[in-house]
């Protein structure tokens, strides 16, 4: 299983690609607020969810689609690691 740093990096790359952000993945801080600093709204959040499922091969339940859990890269990485460990 990928370590948490690698997971964070892949999440950042996916976010930049899928949300068409004009920044490099490295510019996104692990604790940056995605809604406040990158204008992540409900449309973007859905894109992130679909992106995680594609990139990491995990399946997220509706109950897990919490706005809070997807508010920073660190929190998203925790969700991904938990899902990967459960597989």
């Amino acid at each position: 299983m990928a370590d948490i740093a690698e997971t964070r990096q892949r999440i950042k790359e996916m976010i930049v690609e899928r949300l068409f952000l004009d920044v490099s993945p490295e510019e996104i801080g692990d604790e940056d607020s995605l809604p406040e600093q990158y204008n992540v709204d409900s449309v973007n959040l859905f894109e992130i969810v679909v992106g995680l499922e594609e990139v990491f091969g995990v399946s997220l339940e509706d109950e897990e689609l919490s706005v809070e859990a997807f508010s920073t890269v660190n929190k998203i990485a925790e969700v991904v690691q938990r899902k990967l460990e459960g597989q």
């Binding site: 409900s42 859905f46 969810v49 689609l65």
Partner: protein, 274 residues
């Protein structure tokens, strides 16, 4: 060709559909089948760019609102996909009978692409363009449900229960971001299937366009294009414009579609009308 814009009305199923004719002259006409509900609203500006690019390429474009949508007669929740399929046929008949085109192209976007694919062979269109077609209706409805859930949680907080929202699916109507979707409409949406082996018969040139973050077309859309005798597929790296109001620059997509239809002879070459 001048960028003329003419409002018009089309009769379908006893209702009056609001339409717009982009362009003038006697060239070929492309009938545009728009996406579903909120997606149509969001896609409006980019599709207008596409329409004008086609006009600049020598075509005319006929777009219209399905019954119960936009400025057409009726309430959204009173109709279903079969009514909208009938509307597309009515628009095509209007194009043929009233606009006397030198050729007919059919372009559909999202759910409209499903209608266009179903109709292209039947009406003998000269070319077919399917932009980000829905391939799997069940998956589409699941996406819509999740979008609704995320939107509710964004605005009302994470305490919004997925279970309660799911229970709402059993009601006569499901509120899809302000669009009341009756059970029958939902069942028809879920029945949409353009998967392998389900490609409607069409012998002319067909372009399948994947729109999104990918640089390469997705495998399912490649498979769809391969199902056509003269199918082509390409990816346009562009935000899904049917989810964003007014934020997406559709210039590249417009140029690509105008170029492809021109290559297929619709923009500059006379094609015998049926």
């Amino acid at each position: 060709m001048s960028r003329a814009l003419q409002p018009l009305y089309i009769s379908s199923g006893g209702m009056r559909l609001h339409g717009l004719l982009h362009g003038s002259g006697d060239g070929a006409v492309v009938v545009l089948a728009e996406p579903f509900a909120e997606e149509a609203k969001c896609a409006r500006r980019v599709l207008t760019e596409v329409c004008w690019a086609l006009v600049d390429g020598g075509l005319r474009v006929l777009r219209f609102d399905y019954r119960g949508c936009g400025d057409s007669d009726g309430e959204f929740e009173s109709f279903d996909l079969d009514a909208w399929r009938e509307d597309l046929r009515a628009a095509i008949a209007y194009a043929r009978d009233t606009l006397a085109p030198r050729g007919l192209g059919l372009m559909g976007v999202r759910l409209g692409a499903v209608f266009a694919a179903e109709t292209g062979g039947e009406v003998g269109a000269n070319a077919l363009v399917l932009v980000a077609p829905l391939l799997d209706g069940q998956m589409y409805w699941r996406e819509q449900f999740r979008r609704t859930l995320i939107k509710a949680r964004m605005t009302q907080g994470d305490q919004v229960s997925a279970e309660e929202l799911r229970a709402g699916e059993q009601n006569e109507y499901f509120d899809l971001g302000g669009w009341l979707v009756p059970r029958r409409m939902r069942a028809q949406l879920e029945a949409v299937n353009l998967g392998p082996g389900r490609v409607p018969d069409f012998g002319g040139p067909c372009l399948v366009v994947d729109v999104g973050a990918r640089l390469e077309p997705s495998p399912p859309l490649k498979t769809l294009a391969e199902g056509y005798t003269h199918g082509e597929v390409l990816a346009v790296r562009l935000e899904p414009f049917w989810q964003r109001i007014g934020l997406v620059d559709g210039t590249l997509l417009a140029q690509i579609l105008a170029g492809w239809l021109g290559e297929k002879g619709l923009g500059c070459m006379a094609v015998a009308p049926r």
